[in-house]
């Protein structure tokens, strides 16, 4: 068995994953990625997943070793914000051609690494392995080792050929690469009893920054974020944190769990979405830090901040409640958002009539059931036609989803709002929830939906008085 296969097996055998624990040995061996259906419209691949997970490390040069396909179609396609370097937004690729495939792409890759280091002197180069080099057998591990020796810059191989599986697997493989080559390779200048890691948060639209002032106020330091607005160094010294929060549960659970194993950093799974979730998160962070030796007075300070912030957020949401009460929401997203957003929406008086559970774990689903009770309509991955039917039937007032489903929603006359990576408003934290509620209110109030939902005036079949009422 190749070492890559071992890594994948290893990733599948995730003891911290509830879903995995419930499986038999044989099932576990098969792995957790559902076999993809040939002929279907599929989501992103392992490479996409790996790139998404690591690209927010802003000062690293992310070099895609492969033909133009992988980087040509995708460079700089996520809104992860940076407070410093913009190198992560530069698209580096070896743009492999036929010659590389015949003679091997290793020398080409080595040269490309050299050219990056000469030009940009980044703290590290991440080399992403895509389908083609994996198939022709380019030994990117050796190239990276040699390049690192020769140029004195860490070169990190990320084994993520797309054919291995879906995006989620890619997230995990990216995590494995960090565990193997980066985490624990540097020491922070100093540590405090209040140092934490935030794992699986990408700072989309600056969401991490929206949370950070609260932590700053409590004296809690984010020693390392993997990977939103991160610098290479902070990932390298993340093993010195006292506790960790895992944000996107399915993406990097392996990183959190292995860091607990190796470095004794306890972690919890939390969310920045939703008022109560945010409070729980702060409590958990404080609790874990205290358990790790921080002064117990931290908890009292935390509770004070929670009380203040909750009151402010509720007060800010209150005016929206009468406007939003009873409005029906259809949620098409995945993973942790399938439930954490549900809680927030209910806080604003909205009714969630359905939620997708495409990338959700069993716990995610349990949480949805707990939150929504029997009225929970959960549905799995939907083909466009099927989604269209659901949208038509759902009679929701608004659909919240990512960009790819947007257009189908509109064709089905469904008001729509973006809550995935391409959105431009940060929804994390107490104020983020207020922002989301405000945004839903604003979206619902847009005059275009009236036009979207009704036929042209000459096609309206209602009796004249009814048409008159509509106009009024």
């Amino acid at each position: 068995m190749t070492s890559l296969n071992q890594t994948i097996q290893d990733v599948f055998n995730e003891p911290a994953c509830g879903k995995n624990q419930a499986k038999s040995d044989k099932e576990r061996k098969k792995g957790c990625s559902k076999p993809l259906q040939p002929g279907g419209a599929a989501g992103g691949c392992a490479f996409d997943g790996a790139k998404i997970a690591l690209q927010p490390i802003t000062d690293v040069a992310h070099l895609v070793h492969g033909p133009i396909a992988c980087e040509g179609n995708s460079w700089d396609n996520r809104g992860a914000a940076s407070s410093g370097s913009t190198l992560y937004r530069t698209g580096f690729t070896t743009d492999m051609t036929e010659n590389d495939i015949v003679f091997g792409g290793e020398k080409h890759l080595f040269k490309a690494i050299r050219e990056i280091i000469e030009k940009y002197a980044p703290p590290a180069v991440f080399v992403y392995e895509t389908c083609v080099p994996a198939m022709i057998g380019d030994d990117i591990d050796t190239v990276c080792t040699k390049a690192a020796e020769k140029f004195g810059t860490p070169c990190i191989p990320i084994h993520s050929p797309g054919f291995l599986g879906p995006k989620n697997l890619g997230n995990k493989l990216a995590g494995e690469a960090m565990l193997k080559h980066v985490i624990g390779t540097k020491e922070p200048e100093y540590t405090t009893p209040y140092d934490i890691n935030v794992i699986g948060e990408y700072n989309l639209s600056g969401e991490l920054w929206q949370i950070k002032p609260l932590l700053d106020e409590l004296g809690i330091r984010i020693l390392s974020c993997i990977s939103g607005d991160a610098r290479y160094e902070e990932v390298a010294w993340s093993h010195r944190a006292k506790a960790a929060m895992m944000v996107c549960s399915k993406a990097m659970i392996n990183v959190a769990r292995k860091m607990e194993e190796r470095y004794g950093i306890p972690f919890f799974e939390g969310s920045f979405y939703g008022i109560e979730d945010m409070s729980d998160t702060l409590r958990e962070i404080a609790g874990l830090l205290i358990q790790q030796g921080a002064h117990p007075e931290l908890m009292a300070r935390t509770e004070a901040v929670i009380a203040r912030e909750e009151a402010r957020a509720w007060a800010a949401i209150e005016p929206y409640r009468p406007r939003l009460a009873g409005k029906k929401v259809l949620l098409v997203t995945g993973g942790v958002k399938s439930w954490s957003v549900v809680a927030a929406l209910r806080e604003a008086g909205l009714r969630v009539v359905g939620t997708s559970v495409k990338k959700s774990t069993r716990e995610d689903k349990d949480k949805i059931k707990k939150l929504m009770g029997d009225e929970a309509h959960m549905f799995d991955n939907l083909a466009p036609r099927e989604m269209y039917r659901k949208l038509k039937e759902a009679e929701a007032d608004i659909m919240l989803s990512g960009g790819r489903s947007q257009f189908i929603a509109l064709k089905a006359s469904m008001p729509w709002m973006d809550i995935n990576q391409e959105r431009h408003v940060a929804f994390a934290g107490y104020h983020g929830m207020v922002a989301m509620v405000a945004e839903i209110d604003r979206t619902l109030a847009n005059p275009v939906w009236q036009e979207v939902r009704r036929p042209a005036p000459w096609d309206r079949v209602e009796a004249p008085q009814q048409a008159g009422r509509e106009a009024a």
């Binding site: 040939p38 410093g84 036929e98 050219e115 979207v452």
Partner: protein
Amino acid sequence: MPQDADQVKDHFELFRGDEYKDMLAKKRSEFENPHPDAEIERVKEWAKTEEYKDLNFSREALTINPAKACQPLGAVFAAVGFESTLPFVHGSQGCVAYYRSHFSRHFKEPTSCVSSSMTEDAAVFGGLTNMVDGLANAYNMYKPKMIAVSTTCMAEVIGDDLNAFIKTAKEKESLPEEFDVPFAHTPAFVGSHITGYDNAMKGILEHFWDGKAKTAPKLERVPNGSINFLNGFDGYAVGNLREVKRIFDMMQIEYTILGDQSDVWDTPTDGTFRMYDGGTTLEDAAHAIHAKGTISMQEYCTEKTLPFIAAHGQETAAFNHPIGIEATDSFVMEVARMAGVEIPDELAKERGRLVDAIADSNAHIHGKKFAIYGDPDLAYGLARFVMELGGEPVVVLSTNGSKAWAAKMQELFDSSPFGANCRAYPGKDLWHMRSLLFTEAPDFLIGNTYGKYLERDTGVPLIRIGFPIFDRHHKHRYPVWGYQGGLNVLVTILDRIFEHMDATTNVPSKTDYSYDIIR
């Protein structure tokens, strides 16, 4: 607290607050191990020099910010232009997710496209099973009239034989025997999306004209007076094709658009989801063999398709994304000649209006220096138009342009004093362009959305024309072809020039002596 719950700010303003400035500065000093400001300034200035440019141009192995995409993207583009056709990409699934988002972000429409979802097993044992199951599933789930197969690099590295696979799939009853499944090998490690368009288009015509992979008799050409039209890979497909159809109707000619994407990427919001809409009917695609001739709007998108059509006895003519007066003249005159019709007066009037508009505005463009990048044909068409306007292209760059393209560009530059100081840069990327913007110092840059980083870094204002355009909406609905299209491009260029003029003359009692309401 920085964020005030009573007045929620979005990220544009929020993170500019003092609290955030502090927070981010701290991040920098504690976590970034930053270089001293003086050193950053020194390197920044050095990157603007000829010396840096030479180093930059000596790059061999590394591509930075490529302005091209891969073959299957072009194959998908060609396929969606046919009636109820589902593009089917044989290979790993992630690629297809990229194509769908790429097109959706540009056209603001869903793009239907499926993958055979090959995995590691398929990489070892070949993708036959994926093809057999995939075709069956796609056929049953999406009810297309045709499935157009192309490939990702994965299938190409293994060397999957599409012809044999599709045959086997039909034998195994994945699809009815007579169902149309044209195919094209489209490896990403050769050429770019324009090559993929070419291969896929040729594959589709070959399928219909040359006996459907030996399952039907070859068609016998019975020449008629009709004209076939190929747009090539074009981000303005929606606006351009509608404009071309309007012109053809005006000229009262018989025509077939081969690959008409204008409806499928512009479906109405009226409560009906159209997975497929419009497109060239399969019947028309087959009958197109009888046409008198075929016009290609983009030579470098049809390098294989056009000779294939010529070999079937048709006249052919190729243009390079014609924009402006002269280029449109040659286009409509060639159409008129081929179809044996006169140019209608109405069209002549449109021409006159474009000439008039250019004459009205010429002073603002005359002598301005432009850097242009894009697909080879578009870059040619834009450079030609800029020269026609009295502008001076100084850099024309195409990541997917060949040496032959560069030679053709040079001929164009040599044809006019306005091209005297220009050079074509084939096979170069946007990091090369960055150096050129510093050393050649043009007044304006013409390119796609990715050019915004160049605008930010170099201060050269960007005029957005090309594919993809992600950060401005609905540009694809406005044609750039025809005299009407020329007018649109003129206005796009002028708008940016005037905005720039206003933005650089608006400081009260300092520069505002030139801040005029009449420009």
